[in-house]
Assembly symmetry: C2
Homo-oligomer: 253 residues x 2
């Protein structure tokens, strides 16, 4: 008899961002699979104390996926954990890629993806309502796609007037890409377009920095940062002694 494979998004950092369904899945876990940080968070959020931890590096996603599928096929109840939402640059795609490449019997498994609050929603809530209009979510990592594809997507998204959320904006292996991304955006968008660097939102070391696109520098971001680029309808509300609110007008004239 086969078990159930849960793929769970824990939310972006604050414990209160977890959903009821995610909590229920964690409580049923026989095994927890994921990057060490997320496995630790899953335990803090109430995962079954009996669950076996399998912590692996983030670069081994397909191996982790196959491991989880094997465990489910043995009748266990593995839970693969991601930060944010598992379907947004998390583990969900890797699991289904592994299914597609794996034994046919895996197609009969009971796989349940539990959605979560993805980072851009928490950042938006923290700032006000900058996603008020249409928006897009783009990963700057070129581990899995050529930089030319990233640059073209950025340019077209800016031409479309979408608010742009940049995930994975910068890493030690890619120190210069965010500056290249800003250059692409500056070719399309006005200098005063607001750019927000939102780091570790909902966590203790939370930090928010807002600058106009003309002054945006890649060094303001690291791998824990989400970069949000506004559009022509994005406005700021100044508040004496408090950080401003950012929102995007719903109406386009």
């Amino acid at each position: 008899m086969s078990g159930v494979l849960f793929i769970v998004g824990l939310g972006p950092g604050a414990p209160g961002h977890i959903t009821d369904d995610a909590r229920v899945a964690l409580s049923q876990a026989s095994d927890l699979l994921g990057y060490g940080l997320y496995v630790a968070r899953a335990r803090a959020l109430g995962a079954s104390p009996k669950a076996v931890s399998h912590e692996t590096d983030n670069r081994e996603e397909l191996d982790r996926a196959r491991h989880a599928l094997d465990l489910a096929a043995q009748g266990r109840c593995p839970v693969v954990v991601s930060g944010g939402d598992a379907g947004v640059f998390g583990m969900a795609s890797a699991v289904f890629e592994a299914v597609a490449q794996g034994p046919f019997s895996w197609r009969g498994l009971d796989i349940r993806v539990i959605p979560g609050v993805t980072a851009v929603l928490a950042v938006s809530a923290r700032l006000g309502a900058p996603l008020g209009g249409d928006f897009c979510v783009i990963s700057l990592s070129d581990n899995l796609k050529p930089w030319e594809v990233v640059a073209r997507r950025l340019s077209l998204a800016a031409q479309a007037g979408l608010v742009i959320a940049l995930y994975n904006p910068r890493s030690l292996a890619r120190p210069d890409q965010l500056d290249k991304a800003f250059d692409v955006l500056r070719d399309v968008l006005p200098a005063e377009t607001p750019v927000i660097f939102a780091r570790a939102i909902g966590r203790e070391n939370e930090h928010v920095l807002g600058v106009p696109l003309s002054e945006a520098r890649g060094e303001a971001a690291d791998m824990s940062t989400l970069v949000l680029v506004g559009c022509a309808q994005t406005r700021q509300i100044e508040r004496p002694g408090l950080s401003p609110w950012l929102y995007t007008l719903r109406r386009i004239p």
Copy 2:
């Protein structure tokens, strides 16, 4: 002494999609403001029994926002409720627009936006992992923006190779727009591009229909439907006797 204004996303339909933070906010409500359906859901999800309901039509969002701001200024704890995430075509933008237009004293209010699971994340989880790559979220409603803007955004998003989530795809007042949107997309994307009509995900009357773009017809959607349009990397996993899984490859060659 002023109170706190919470703007809360309840998640897309299934009770288990609510977050801990949203539940805490509901439990503290002195007043619940929103579309009748969402106020009823807030009550079912554990809103304070003492909270006063203020149910208003969805076309009166700015009035509802001002009402909530007034209540907070009086020292009450109003909770404005939206389905999904309040920042994604929900009430958050309307509240900050009302602040920007309102008395200066409103800028000193304690306004807290509580993020939620927006519909596209629940739909993606239900289907597999179709958001595996970059994606965008576009409202088809032209109540607040000209159709030319919508059409241009759709065309550019398709050229960018983004997975496209269409919110508010169809209403009685706009019966033909979704067909016009498919025409725009067919000018850019291959005929076999997968299109998913996901209705009432997580609710009793849930319904999912997948067709190639060449066969997509607007009449398959209503206001409770989210339409998801895949990209060149979107794949299907056939499962004998079960509905197929949909996922998007992370790697772009």
